[in-house]
């Protein structure tokens, strides 16, 4: 069932260039520039949400229910009269935070599991079967079950989105470890009696950094999408917190008379995820062309 792990072969990429030239090469990649620019703008909007918002995002104003976008309510109002523009600004905070947090957790946990599996034959078979099992469960359903059982909360949602992402990272790291440990310099290090932790730290870990950065951006994109979907289905962030998914969930009942409640936050999610994906593709092309946007990176 598992997609064949991609062999990881050392190769000449921007990663081999000196730091300064590598940085310049990155900035010539249109995907990287577009992705970073869009994300910076969204980050600034999120940080400045309190100053940029027109109204308190959770203020209920029954008299202003379902108003179309206008000079007063730029993106219209929802069924409780809350200002969609102000809510979208605050929602950006939640989405960016969740994307970043999930990517960090998935990368760290996947790195540890991948290193252990790649280095200890005994645990390898067991760990990888467990990873296969986790991957066989559809992401959204696994997350839904975890949120249902643990009660809604930002932390629960982060963990619920991160766990299904871990196997992808673990398999990537494991494939790097398996190929790097055959390299002559690692054999030489073993030969002169370098302790295992030092080999891991000095020789194996550096080789995982480039693929992990790329995988991390894809994970971040997936996490932002998954949060929106979970909240939209009613199994996500508590409804009192304005997240992009929650704003859209509130718009479901009234979509035919007030489509803006769903379409504007939807556009924000799509734009952010697009920026992260394009950034990931750009980084991959520059750092590590061998990680195909292939089977393992898709959900």
């Amino acid at each position: 069932m598992s997609a064949p792990a991609e062999p990881f072969i050392a190769h000449e990429t921007a990663a081999d260039l000196p730091d300064v030239r590598r940085a310049r090469a990155l900035w010539r990649n249109p995907g990287v520039v577009f992705g970073v620019a869009v994300l910076l703008i969204i980050l600034l909007l999120a940080i400045g949400a309190a100053y940029l918002a027109n109204v308190d995002p959770i203020l209920l104003r029954p008299r202003f229910r379902l108003r179309a976008p206008s000079a007063i309510a730029w993106l219209g109002t929802d069924q409780f009269g809350r200002d969609v523009y102000s809510r979208v600004l605050f929602g950006a905070r939640v989405s960016l935070f969740i994307g970043f947090a999930v990517a960090t957790i998935a990368v760290v946990a996947g790195l540890i599991i991948g290193l252990v599996a790649g280095y200890l034959r005994l645990l390898d078979a067991i760990l990888m079967r467990v990873m296969d099992g986790v991957m066989a469960i559809p992401n959204i359903l696994l997350a839904i079950a975890m949120v249902t059982l643990s009660g809604a909360g930002i932390l629960t949602v982060i963990v619920a989105i991160a766990i299904p992402e871990i196997p992808r990272v673990a398999r990537l790291v494991r494939s790097v470890v398996l190929s790097v440990r055959e390299e002559p310099y690692v054999e030489a290090a073993i030969g002169v009696g370098t302790p295992v932790p030092l080999i891991m730290w000095g020789h194996i870990l550096p080789n995982t950094i480039a693929p992990l950065i790329v995988q991390g951006t894809y994970t971040c994109a997936a996490a932002i999408l998954t949060e929106a979907i979970l909240s939209f289905l009613g199994a996500g962030i508590p409804t009192e917190i304005p997240s992009w998914g929650n704003i859209m969930a509130e718009g479901r009942q009234s979509f035919q008379i007030a489509p803006w409640v769903i379409l504007f936050p939807g556009f924000c999610v799509a734009l952010t995820v697009l920026a992260v994906n394009v950034l990931g593709d750009g980084l991959r092309d520059m750092l590590d062309p061998r990680i195909a946007r292939g089977m393992d990176n898709l959900r």
Binding site: M1, R129, A145, A228, P259, L263, A270, V273, V278
Partner: protein, 313 residues
Amino acid sequence: MGRFLAGRVLATIPVMGVVATIVFLLLRLAPGDPAAILAGDAASPEHIAEIRARLGLDQPILVQFAEWIGRLLHGDLGTSIISNQPVTTLIGQRLEPTLALATTTILFAVIVAVPLGVLSAWRHGTWIDRGVMTLSVLGFSIPVFVLGYLWIFAVAMQLQWLPVQGYVSFRQGFWPFLERLILPTLTLSVIYIALIARITRASVLEVLGEDYIRTAHAKGVGERAVLTHHALRNAAVPIVSVIGIGIALLISGVVITESVFNLPGLGRLTVDAVLARDYPVIQGVILLFSAAYILINLAVDVSYTIFDPRIRY
């Protein structure tokens, strides 16, 4: 071949076992008292105790596990906390719309995506290629439900060409049935098309560099015949494989698409169960979908021998 088949079928057993164990542990390892969470905020102690007893949470964990596996092997997925009906019955009632949507989506996606991918590889580096690949990244980035609402907004509300929501069984007429599946199919297939087109392009592009393609060109085989007979045929294995792996994507998408378009399928069943905290139903649907994913990928692996006769197990 027989040995390969047997080995491959046996290899699905540990994965299914892991899935069953994970689903079992999810409920038992949940922080806090899962019975209290499932019972809701305003539950009486009696109600919580009743749920605990019904889920068997008051027994030793090993006893619970043995009973759980035993029931699973007999095809018993438990009973709903809310409606008291067997989960298998509930699933059976909801199977048709989901199967219908999944079938139309897979068919439509393959019919659209494979030619797009081949075209993209054939015209590699041109604006056609860039256009297809840009659309593909876009397809990965738009949340499925936003796309669904966009279709509803444009096609059903503005143009009024198609009904907004709902489902009609094919037994009540083929056109009404198909008419209500068009928008859901267009919604759900986008991400699948993006995925298949991308892999088709990469796979065909690799094959197009092979010597036998040059030979085919040299001996005067037409462009179309080279693409379909020589290139696509040899690029088929990764494409078929991604269609199988993409089923995971499709399953998550079905849940969302069904709630946008009000289709009474397994996705709606899941979402309703989430809102009612009906854990046995959620658990049953997860097991069913995971098993479907594992079995479809088993079929895909076996099909390699048909697509690439060089693969002999």
